[in-house]
Amino acid sequence: MKFSKSILVSAVSAIALAGIAGQVQADYPEEPISYVIPFNPGGESDITARFQEPVLEEILGVSVNVSHRPGGGGAVAWSEFQSNAEPDGYELIGVNIPHIIAQPILRSDAGYETDNWEIITFFHSTPNALIVPANSPFDTLEDLVDYARENPQVVTLGGSGTYSANHLDMLRLEREADIDLTYIPFSGTGPLPAALEGNHVAGVFNYTMLGVQMEDRVKVLAVASEERVPALPDAPTFKEQGYDIVGGAYRGVAAPAGTPDEIITVLEDAFAEANRRIAEKQEPLGFVMEYITGDQVDEVISQLKDAYAPILESAE
């Protein structure tokens, strides 16, 4: 099976490329693969890559080197990758939605484009969740919305970053419910438990993981997913409560534009298999495993682009 596949691959590549640039290796991969995480160690992207690394190495039979290239909310690494990386399947980078949608719209000098690469797969998503401290006067989403309608701008909601997944879905809630909230950006998810615990904000718009992590000290008023998240069975979705908000961060991995399809397929399969094997560790933390590949990638991006673009463009 493997033999015939490699013959097929080499035949296809020989015909297709016939000695033009970018030699497609018949038996990819045979060199170490570099996997760049555009954020600091310790975050969700990093933790996931650490889970994937040994599984990928086992499946692909070569070493996978995870390295970090933080800066500018990911933009530094992404702009470098799009201008420098070779499309030979040995250079991969983690990609995140909504970052790769929002930054090129908001910044004139982001240095990269949303579509200028081959996104291999989005392997998981972390839905947004509206979380308030356990001693908060709001017991339901309705309580919070009613209060905010009578007291515009008084309800402060913290979140990770500006025009991040958290911020964008908070803005969608404002539009849907026709209320006026005040968003307070924090640097990353790290400071948010303290902000909740110390009542520095009325609540936070963050990911489901925080709700799981602080389960006994907070109330999760709503989750921005299609269906309830397994790790938080008691938390209702926004949809159940009449607001059409489904969103969060999607994490995936990309190869440079022009990487041969055969190589993309090999990587797709490897990441999917890795996902299946690490699911039992990640799901209890609040991650939602995804297997988005090929055309679905473009669908997800364009769908979220439509949801976010009006908000982003009015912000610009």
Binding site: P41, G42, P54, D109, G161, S187, P193, A194
Partner: protein, 512 residues
């Protein structure tokens, strides 16, 4: 109690001891290389712990953390280069001591202070974690703004001589902190259309540039090695016992520094760099002989190194109880805990108490191991630095700093920024603007900005938004401390100037 004993038993195995020993040594080595921080040491060594049991993995990482924070002192003392940002204040007196031929004394002082600091932090964590954790959440945006302002009053004592020049340095640092994506709001600033600048100027990059390069340039210019000239003096025996007697004989400095270290460690967002600077400043303020600071007073080294090692275990109080990383390296420890299915909270101390207590105790063990490992390492490194002629030393250090800077974010641009800052730092030093206030501005500028903007955002409905800054009791207290700090820094100078008239006249009379 049973849990403690059980934890201790699982620690005192051959495997446990070796794990901690290897962890401490690896941490020490990485920490002593400029550019490689404690956070990086943990990130680099993290994959090695995957195959271990949860407790063993945590023990290894705790030991690495302890070792790397201590390792920063080596280069701080010997080549005026803080190996990690936590050792900035160690350079102030450690390096002058080395140049006077008292390098070994400084290293011994740093070692003893680190061991005691580490043990104090572990004790606090073991006994007082739940009550102290409540403190951590009291620091909201407005409080953080005042903490940063309080830190900026340190400029006065760091500017050694001219307050104006110190302030200029502080302002340069704060300006540098604004390059890149803004912490609140996400706009890009001062990138001049150059995408890689979105990443801003990393503290470590500035630190290496401003501390190391000027030192290398003057070593090359003066044709001297940094401490060989006094190598002979180094042989005058100041043994470890005398150093220990000096430090323990007057424990006030040590106790004060440890308490400062613990208080600041709990505040989320303020790491070892802030603790050591504040502890140094207070040691100087309360000293009977503040003039001797910055000229080779071992108390300065002790204050800096004890407080930053308290931070190692101390900053885990909010981490283990609330899931709030007290310092940047803690974020990695949090990741490891989550990976092993351990959720921060009080259940960590009850349900999985053996594991948690084992982890805490292993940090204490790591602190103890700093003593033999550190003293041995100190002797070795000291000998190498003294024996190597400067024409080998300068290029070697230059090479290490360039590699360290590059490794930080895999960025050549950072190397360029480091060089530019280094050359600028050399000339700024010639006109009396020193690196310390610049770095201080760079560290605290971002914290102050974020606290201020967040407070103002939350106060959008208030008639007078600025009042939010002093709304809480804690922020009032902190604001008062800032005023007090500024006053104690400015008053002596002002009194001297207004009092100089009669004093000057009388002394002039005597002169004649």
């Amino acid at each position: 109690m049973d849990m403690l004993l059980e934890a201790l038993a699982s620690l005192m195995t051959f495997e446990g001891l070796i794990t901690v020993l290897v962890g401490v040594s690896a941490g020490l080595l990485i920490g002593s290389l400029p550019g490689l921080t404690a956070t990086m040491a943990l990130a680099v060594l993290l994959p090695f712990t995957f195959s271990m049991e949860p407790l063993q993995g945590l023990m290894a990482l705790g030991a690495v953390y302890m070792g790397s924070i201590y390792g920063g002192a080596f280069t701080a003392i010997l080549i005026n280069t803080p190996g990690t940002p936590s050792s900035i204040a160690t350079t102030f007196d450690g390096y002058p001591m080395a140049r006077q031929g008292r390098a070994y004394e400084a290293l011994a002082g740093a070692t003893i202070a680190s061991v005691i600091g580490g043990l104090v932090g572990v004790t606090f964590l073991l006994l007082l974690a739940p009550p102290l954790a409540r403190w951590a959440v009291a620091f909201g945006p407005s409080e953080m703004f005042w903490v940063a302002m309080l830190g900026l009053t340190l400029v006065a004592s760091l500017s050694s001589g001219s307050l104006l020049k110190g302030m200029i340095g502080g302002c340069i640092g704060m300006l540098l902190s604004t390059v890149g994506v803004s912490p609140v709001g996400g706009e890009t600033r001062f990138t001049f259309g150059f995408p890689p600048l979105q990443g801003g100027i990393e503290l470590i990059v500035a630190l290496i540039g401003l501390f190391v390069i000027p030192e290398l340039l003057s070593m090359a210019a003066e044709g001297r090695s940094n401490i060989t000239e006094s190598a002979e003096l180094g042989k005058t025996k100041v043994g470890i016992r005398q150093v220990a007697r000096h430090i323990l004989g007057k424990p006030v400095n040590l106790i004060r520094s440890c308490l400062i270290g613990q208080v600041i460690a709990i505040i989320p967002g303020a790491g070892g760099n802030v603790t050591s600077l504040v502890a140094y400043n207070e040691a100087k303020r309360f000293s009977k002989d503040p003039q001797s600071f910055g000229k080779g007073n071992i108390d300065g080294v002790v204050a800096s190194e004890s407080s930053n090692n308290v931070m190692v275990a101390g900053s885990m109080i909010p981490l283990l109880t609330l899931g709030i990383p007290g310092a940047p390296p803690d974020a990695i420890i949090l990741g490891v805990l989550l990976m092993h299915g351990l959720r921060p909270g009080l259940s960590l101390f009850t349900e999985s108490g053996v594991l948690t207590n084992g982890f805490i105790l292993s940090m204490g063990l790591a602190a103890l191991m700093l003593l033999p490992v550190g003293l041995l390492g100190a002797r070795l490194i000291h000998k190498i630095v003294i024996k190597t002629p400067y024409h080998f030393m300068v290029p070697a250090i230059a090479m290490v700093t360039i590699l360290g800077t590059f490794a930080l974010r895999n960025s050549l641009l950072d190397v360029g920024i480091m060089m530019i800052m280094g050359i600028a730092g050399f000339f700024l030093r010639l006109i009396g603007i020193h690196a310390a206030p610049i770095v201080l501005g760079l560290i605290l500028g971002g914290i102050a900005e974020q606290g201020y903007v967040q407070t103002m955002l939350a106060a959008v409905v208030d008639p007078i938004p600025w009042l939010r800054l002093v709304e809480n009791p804690l922020s009032k207290v902190l604001a008062a401390l800032v005023l007090l700090g500024a006053a104690t820094a400015l008053l002596p100078g002002w009194l001297e100037r207004s009092g100089r008239l009669d004093k000057g006249e009388s002394s002039r009379g005597e002169d004649k």
